[in-house]
Amino acid sequence: MKTHPRSRAVRTPGGLSLRLEPRALIVVVLLLAAACAAGVALIGTGDAKIPAADVLRTLAGNGTAYQDFIVNELRLPRVLVGLLVGASLGLGGALFQSVSRNPLGSPDLLGLSQASTAGALVVIVLLSGSAAQVTLGALAGGLVTGFALYALAWKQGVHGYRLVLVGIGVNAVMTAVNGYLLTKADLVDATRAVVWMTGSLSGRDWEQVRPLLGLCAVLFPLVLANARGLRMMEMGDDISHALGVRVQRVRLLLMASAVLLTAAATAAAGPVSFVALTAPQLARRLTRSPGPNLVPSLCMGAALLVAADWASQRAFGADQLPVGVVTGVLGGAYLLWLLVTERRAGRI
C-alpha cells in the first residue's frame, strides 16, 4: 500500500502474479455496464418502442415472435456493430496516440478514415457498387493507406512526430480526392456518399457483425498481449530498448493491428469521427492511470458510440441523423475542453 496504492498484485503460490489496478478495473466494469445499458436502450428505441424488460426477455429467448424479429433480426445486429466498431476505434485510437505520443494523433486525423472514405466513394461514385462492395472498397482504401503511411514514415525506424506529420499530409490529399469524387457524382450518389461519409449504424445486419466479430476476436488478444511493451515505449525508444522491448517489432505489430481495426470499423460504419480521438483520452482521465489504458479505451469507445447512436435516435427520431454527427459534436466539445485544461497544464 505504501509503494503502490494505484495497483495491487495478485499472487499465487506457484509464482504467478498479476497486476491489477482497482480503479481501472472499476472504470472498465462501469463502462461495460454503460455500454450494455445503452445497447438495451438502443434496441428499445425506434418506430416500435419496446420496454427494457421486454428487450432483455427477448434477448434471453423468451419474447413474442414479433418482438423476437424486431430485436434479434433488426436491432441487435445494429447494436453489436456499434459496440464492435466503437471498441475497435477506441482501441485503434489508443494505440495510435500511444505510438505517436500525442493525444491528438488518432487515426481519423492521420488520413486513415479519409482513405477508407476514398475507397468507399470510388465504389459508390465510379462503380455504383452494392453495400457489400462499398464495405470492401473502404477496407481496401484504409489498409493500403495504412501501410503506405507506415512505409512513408519509416526512416531508420518510425518516429512519432514523423508518423503524425506524414499522416497529416496523407489526410489532406485524401480529403481533396474525396472532394473530387463527390463533385463527380450525380446528386443521388452524392447524397448516399455524404451519409456514408458521416458514419451511420442504420440498416446494419448480421452480415456485418460476423466478420467484424472474427477480426476483433483475433486482434484484441494479440494487442493486449503486447500492451506491456507499449507501456515501456512511452518512455522513449532508447529506454524501452534498454529494458529489452523489441521496439520496432512491437510497434509494427501494434500499428498493423490498429490499421486493421480502424479500417474494419470504418468499413462497417463509415468514418465515425472523433471516437478514436476522444475515447482514449476520456478513459485515461477516468482511470487516472498513466500508460496506454488499452482496455478502458476499448470499453469507452463501445459505450460512447452506442450511447451517441441512442442519443441521436432519441433526439432527432429514428434514422434522421447519422451517429457520426453526434460524435462530431462531442468531438468539438472535447477539443474545447482540451483547449482549456491541457493548455493550463502546459502540455498537449
Binding site: 505520443r101 530498448h241 529489452g244
Partner: protein
C-alpha cells in the same frame, strides 16, 4: 607512466571481460563516426569515456548497449554477439540510462521505477514480491524513497535524474551504462549523482560505463578512463596513469597544467590562462 595506447588493446579476442567492442565501424546513415574501433570494458570498473564534442563517445555507448548496430565488427557480451542475443536476456545483464528520456504524463516515481522490472516480468508474472522488494531497495539507494508517490513531472532536475537512475537500478543488471548522467544538473547534484555511481561501483561491485563531459569529474571518479578523439581511442587506463598535459592537448586541443587534486590525489586539469595560451601560439608560429 604505464599508459596503454590504442594499438596495444587491439588484440582480437578477450575472454576476460564481459563487455567489449571488436573492430566496430559505427555510422548513422552514410556518416561514419568511428572505424575499426576496439574497446574493452574491464569488469568491476567504473569506466568513463571522455573526449571533445562529436568524437563519437555517445555513439560508442549506444553501440555497446546495442541501440546502434555496428555496420562492421561486433559488440560482445559474455562472449556472444550482442545483436543476436534475446532482447530480454541482454536487458537482464546490461542496463542503459540514455541522455533524454520522457516520463509518461502523470506517472509517479514508484511506478516509473517499477517499469525497470520489465525484463524480469512476463505475461503471467507481472508483479512478484521480488519486484516489489527490488523497487523499494532501488529507491532507497538513490534516496528517492520518500518521493515514491510524487509525480515525476513535479520533481526538480536533480531528483528526476535520481529517479531515472533508480529505474535503471531496478533492472538489476551487473553492467550499467550511463550517457552523460550529469547534464543539466547544478554542481551539487552533479557530485551527488557521481557519488551515487561510485557507491554502486564500490559497494555493489557493478560495472559502470559513463560518458562524461567534465574531465575533472572523470579523472576523480573513474577507475578506468577511455579518451576518444575523431572516433579513435587516443589513450586508456587509470586516470593517474594517463591524464597528462600532453594528452589533454592531444585530445581536446587545450593547453593546460595537470596538478594533483588536493582532495583525492587524482589528476586535476587546469586550463592555461588566455594570455599564456596566446603567447605560446605566437611563439610557436
Amino acid at each position: 607512466m604505464t599508459a596503454t595506447t590504442a594499438g596495444a588493446t587491439n588484440n582480437p579476442r578477450s575472454t576476460v571481460n564481459r563487455l567489449s567492442a571488436e573492430n566496430v565501424t559505427l555510422a548513422y546513415d552514410q556518416r561514419v563516426i568511428a572505424e575499426q574501433l576496439s574497446v574493452e570494458i574491464p569488469d568491476n570498473s567504473f569506466t568513463v569515456i571522455v573526449g571533445p564534442n562529436a568524437c563519437g563517445k555517445s555513439t560508442l555507448l549506444r553501440a555497446l548497449s546495442r541501440m546502434l548496430k555496428p555496420s562492421q565488427g561486433r559488440v560482445l557480451l559474455d562472449g556472444q554477439a550482442i545483436q543476436s542475443m534475446p532482447a530480454k536476456k541482454v536487458a537482464r545483464t546490461l542496463g542503459l540510462l540514455p541522455q533524454s528520456s520522457v516520463a509518461p504524463d502523470g506517472i509517479t516515481v514508484a511506478d516509473l521505477v517499477g517499469r525497470g522490472r520489465y525484463p524480469h516480468q512476463g505475461l503471467l508474472r507481472q508483479w512478484s514480491a521480488q519486484d516489489e522488494r527490488v523497487v523499494r531497495e532501488s529507491m532507497r539507494q538513490t534516496g528517492v524513497a520518500e518521493l515514491a508517490e510524487r509525480y515525476v513531472d513535479e520533481l526538480s532536475g536533480g531528483q528526476r535524474q535520481r529517479v531515472w537512475i533508480a529505474m535503471a537500478l531496478a533492472q538489476q543488471t551487473p553492467l550499467l551504462l550511463l550517457d552523460e548522467p550529469t547534464t543539466y544538473l547544478d554542481i551539487q547534484h552533479q557530485i551527488d549523482v557521481l557519488d551515487l555511481c561510485a557507491e554502486l561501483h564500490e559497494e555493489q561491485g557493478r560495472t559502470l560505463v559513463a560518458v562524461l563531459h567534465d574531465l575533472n569529474h572523470a579523472a576523480r571518479y573513474a577507475t578506468h578512463l577511455i579518451a576518444l578523439r575523431g572516433g579513435t581511442v587516443i589513450a586508456e587506463g587509470a586516470p593517474n596513469d594517463i591524464v597528462t598535459a600532453e594528452l589533454v592537448e592531444e585530445v581536446f586541443g587545450l593547453r593546460c597544467q595537470v596538478i594533483e587534486d588536493p582532495e583525492t590525489g587524482t589528476p586535476l586539469v587546469v586550463p592555461a590562462a588566455r594570455r599564456t595560451r596566446a603567447e605560446r601560439v605566437t611563439a610557436a608560429s
